[in-house]
Symmetry: C2
Subunit: 315 residues, 2 copies
């Protein structure tokens, strides 16, 4: 069985299996992505983030419909960095997407944190590479707006869409927290609720104050549940992609992204090697086992890093 070949041929089961390998942090996934390097860079990577309850999943669902009507293929990657406590809600959201299950032009996949500490980003990046290599035109990465995920998503996508609700206070929070700087397109969803236009203007004014040269992020009103504003949203997303390509920013963003990916891979590898040094029969492990009372973790971290260096090397 040739996983790379099947994946390139668009085989959905091969794709699903490859993503599972990435999620399990199986080195086969890395080897696969390395083999597929020549097939990367086609997909438009769009991140969709925002607080719980802002309607991201319904919006993703709507975007899928708009994009499919234009005969483009799409993948939705729902990343849930949150705890098992909220797992149920995300699962519930996924059920909404089930109307697309008979359409082979739509691939939907949820990824969880699986208890990896800080290990989600490399898995997510690998999954995005795999979806890209499989020839999808659009890869929508949807993430629950908790934790550092909305910051993180902007570092792995071409276009970041921030979804807000009218009058929810999120808009104000976002402005304060500087989160506005990371979004390329703003959405005030649930526009059928009161205060949507007021919230839109609030965000627009904040953007005008922080105005920078280049791309001017639009603020789009949508009601995903009523299928309203979705064409406008898709148009804004497409325009941003065109802007990236024409301005040369696509290349600089992707260079920055590959640097961040390398940094994440180095940290992940160092972490794994450090674990095996400490669990194995190393000098540091023996020192720790024999100690009575507190030790200096900083000095020992230096010793372990040196050891990782000796063992790890390139490869």
């Amino acid at each position: 069985m040739d996983l790379a070949g099947d994946l390139l041929a668009g085989d959905v089961r091969a794709l699903a299996r490859a993503i599972s390998l990435a999620e399990d942090r199986d080195p086969q996934a890395a080897a696969l992505v390395a083999r597929l390097q020549g097939h990367l860079g086609h997909a438009h990577l769009v991140g969709l983030t925002g607080p719980p309850g802002s309607g991201k999943s319904t919006l993703a669902d709507g975007l899928v419909r708009v994009v499919r009507a234009q005969d483009r293929t799409v993948a939705v990657l729902a990343v849930d960095p949150s705890s098992p406590f909220t797992g149920g809600a995300v699962l519930g959201d996924r059920v909404r997407m089930s109307r697309h299950t008979l359409d082979s032009g739509v691939f939907i996949r949820s990824m969880g944190a699986r208890g990896h500490l800080g290990g989600l980003a490399p898995a997510t990046r690998e999954a995005i590479h795999l979806l890209d290599a499989s020839g999808r035109d659009l890869v929508l990465v949807e993430t629950v707006g908790v934790g550092q995920s909305e910051m993180e998503i902007s570092t792995i996508c071409d276009t970041t869409v921030l979804v807000m609700m009218p009058e929810s206070g999120d808009a104000v929070q976002s402005i304060k927290a500087g989160i506005m700087e990371i979004a390329d397109v703003f959405v005030v969803n649930k526009s059928d609720l009161g205060g949507a236009e007021r919230t839109r203007r609030l965000v627009q004014d904040a953007l005008a104050l922080a105005r920078k040269p280049g791309w001017q992020p639009p603020v789009i009103l949508t009601s995903a549940a009523r299928e309203d504003g979705l064409d406008r949203l898709w148009e804004a997303i497409r325009k941003h992609r065109d802007h990236l390509a024409e301005s040369g920013e696509l290349r600089s963003r992707r260079l920055r992204r590959v640097k961040q990916e390398i940094v994440a891979l180095v940290a992940e590898r160092a972490r794994k090697e450090a674990e095996s040094v400490l669990e194995g029969d190393s000098a540091v492990a023996r020192k720790l086992a024999g100690q009575n009372g507190p030790v200096n973790p900083y000095a020992l971290a230096g010793e372990v890093l040196a050891q990782v260096a000796r063992d790890g090397g390139p490869g």
Copy 2:
């Protein structure tokens, strides 16, 4: 000014300043902790976690009162790994604690993620060391139950307390997700709401099924708002600490913890070094700048790790 000396003497401003250094990832904080090694290990480190709305802050507040009545000193470290979106709520919670502000036996501090990706754990660990060194008898680490924080908290504390609400579905979710394995004491808070006793039995039954030798985690009913059950909870926490000391588990937990701390420090250092390699004038950076089209991040990560190894070494 001697920060270490002032901190050991119990100076609260010195403590606050030292924690800020840790939060900023200033190397001075690491140097300080290294200097204070001989003064660590006194405090009982208790982690308090659970979903938003379960009443953790009110419970922490109540525990502080119980502990202060016994003339023990206490520090509360409220760690918020969540996004700017929920920052407001946490701030609101903190106001509750203000009734203790005139009591020098109580030190309260919030720590945020500050946009560090995966960088909270080293800062939190350093802050805990600093609180421990300052002579506090009890260090309560309260964390919002989102993200991987409730898994993480069990790796940095002696005793982990999981707070649930009656009939909230959290109990069932926790059982499913295996999160029960990481808690030493279970709390069903808001016992004045209906279904508390039923939830308590549900958790108890699940614990009985997964029964292991050694410590049997109790399930305590509390109503923090009505100041009910707090003495029982404190008694359970103290008993767990006694169990750890008598069984020798305190030593093995702390050994495991220092290993995890070293791994986190190695990963953090590797990440930082990798960033400077890629931003600097290294061979890899030049290769990236000159590339056209996709590159293989895995191979480059290997090169960067080798470089980190050469540059970093012990220190």
